[in-house]
């Protein structure tokens, strides 16, 4: 069975989409000969030519804006934003047009656009290289928002995003880019809008997504040695959100901890807790806790582990919920 890094899996997903649909275009800053700063687009320009895989000027609003025009002309754009912290100039085009164009035109103009954004911290990056922008996109009606946690699922989600008729933001957890997973690269399996259970337990449920899934799994291992078993639910799809899976997991144990590295206030945790309260209040045995980044800007490399939810913080929250 072949082993894939997340970078290689994403690269394969782009290659597969370019092969299967001649209307697919891949572009962004440095995605050509260099293959992107993370090498996700490596080799694609040579294989598919400079017309279908191309560099753009450093112009994020322009990149998102030409996606709209290209979609109107019948193309299927897959754009890369180089880093989370550099994606903000594009927000005006994304919020104003990418997300709204289909609605503004009464469904006449589709926006089958994929915007990939290497996201989240944990790579000892410079400032503007460790941000968690998911709430901006999740809160923008008209977008779908995906974030994989493992290589095989990264392949699946990117293939599904590119094939989707609606605009999709794919937040790639750059700290997991070099993680490896064995198996077959396939788009079959859980679709957009479905969470997946990565580990079953009966004491507590850990709900997370992206890079923090790995830490949740590590915390679950630590806790198991103490006799505390955890279900780990990987959301994968932030919009649409798998409310059934969230509520079902909450009902199964009555104890839930939500983990993300984005700042706490109005982060995904707020939405998840609200859904649990709406759907599974009677089943709760303890308050739902959040383990998140604090409400301050992302710190420099030497301090990022202070900021990021640690295995210890996650484990402590589970112990607290279980002991309640």
């Amino acid at each position: 069975m072949a082993e894939h890094t997340m970078v290689a899996a994403l690269n394969a997903a782009l290659r597969g989409s370019l092969q299967e649909d001649p209307r697919t275009l891949v572009f962004g800053e440095d995605v050509g000969e260099l293959g992107g700063v993370f090498r996700v687009t490596e080799g694609l320009q040579r294989e598919f030519g400079r017309e279908r895989v191309f560099n753009t000027p450093i112009a994020e609003a322009g990149i998102a804006g030409i996606c709209v025009g290209l979609a109107m002309a019948g193309w299927r754009p897959v754009a890369e934003m180089q880093f989370d912290g550099f994606s903000y100039p594009a927000l005006d085009q994304v919020i104003g047009h990418v997300a709204k164009y289909r609605e503004r035109t009464r469904g006449r103009v589709a926006m089958p656009i994929t915007i990939r954004i290497p996201s989240f911290g944990g790579i000892r990056g410079k400032e503007h290289h460790g941000e968690s922008p998911e709430t901006y996109y999740v809160h923008t009606a008209g977008l779908k928002v995906l974030t994989p946690s493992t290589p095989l699922d990264a392949y699946r989600l990117l293939r599904l995003a590119i094939a989707d008729p609606d605009p999709v933001i794919v937040l790639e957890p750059k700290s997991r880019y070099w993680s490896k997973e064995e198996g077959e690269l396939t788009a079959e399996g859980p679709g957009i809008g479905r969470a997946r259970t990565l580990r079953e337990g009966s004491s507590c449920v850990l709900i997370s997504y992206g890079a923090m899934i790995q830490r949740c799994l590590e915390a679950a291992s630590v806790l198991e040695a103490e006799g505390v078993t955890c279900t780990v639910l990987d959301l994968r799809s932030l919009v649409p959100l798998d409310v059934e899976a969230i509520a079902g997991a909450a009902r199964s144990t009555g104890r839930v901890v939500v983990v993300h590295e984005a700042p706490m206030t109005l982060g995904m945790g707020a939405e998840i807790v609200a859904r649990i309260v709406e759907e599974a209040f009677d089943h709760l045995e303890a308050p739902v806790l959040r383990v998140t980044g604090p409400d301050v800007p992302y710190p420099p490399a030497s301090l990022e582990q202070v900021y990021l939810p640690s295995v210890e913080r996650i484990s402590a929250a589970v112990r607290k919920v279980v002991a309640y």
């Binding site: 609003a61 804006g65 290209l70 085009q93 469904g107 006449r108």
Partner: protein, 351 residues
Amino acid sequence: MSSENAVPIVQLIAPDGTAVGDTGVGLSDDQMRELLRLMIRARRLDRECWALQRQGELTVYPPFEGQEAAQVGSAFALGPADFAFPSFRELAAAIVRGVDVVEYLQYHRGTWHGGPYDPYASGFAPICVPVATQIVHAVGWAIGARLDGKAACSLAYFGEGSASEGDFHEAANMAAVFGAPAILFCQNNGWAISVPSTEQFAAPIAARAGGYGFPGVRVDGNDVLAVYAVTREAAERARSGGGPTLIEAMTYRVGAHSTADDASRYRDEAEVEVWRARDPIERYRLHLATRGLVDDAWIAGVDADAETWVAEIRAALTVLDAPPASEVFDHAFAEPPATVLRQREELLGDG
């Protein structure tokens, strides 16, 4: 300012109707008359829209009086395969492109957002209010057309105030780098709501083109033949692989920014009078009359037709109600998330 004078203004017909340049722009007599007919109808409809707003039949409406030549002349130079990307004051251009006017005016009636008509039917993108974002869309469309090997171009309408937005720069630079068949068509109407162009930029917009590496031209925006000629030249260059062109049409917003605006708060009426004397329709009528192409009877016929046309639009528009409530939910997604479907059910019931 010396920089103001650095870019010559292309003019073929002087405000008194006399030819000052080569008016042989390749149009038949019928086409020459059609330009006038379109401008007359556009103005008649524009004034009707102002009245309809005052009567409560439209929400806020942005009048284009004074800019008929800039819009009609440029849109007339486009072909059926080309695509125009308007801002929000381009009803005259929409008329030329054959957009269903009643559908267009649904936007100002508040029954739908900027794309109430089929953009593909007439190669006319949705009305775009954030003022410069559509320039980038036009460049994206042009890149796509070029990848398809089509002999077609896009044209983005924007105002001189919009040219201060970063999207103008990103669009212009990308158009240049990709050799996109795009025309960046600026209607410099002197005012961005209350801010005069002198407080918006310090050098002619057309001069910026040189910095991007493509041609820039300043044209008398109230001279319909000149606008047509420079746009056609830009379109032919774009369609044949010659890349983008920036056109700055010097015109004037005779009316207020919108029905919600009071231009007398910031603008001297004497300035408006100067521009009324440069009226695009009267100038062109005089020119065609001198050449014997139109007479009073022809004008009277066009006026009468315009009255009938506007009455039909008014009748069709004023009976338009809000669309079904379900439309709030129906169009945002091709495949709506479960949460949206649930909200739809909660708000609308089973219907």
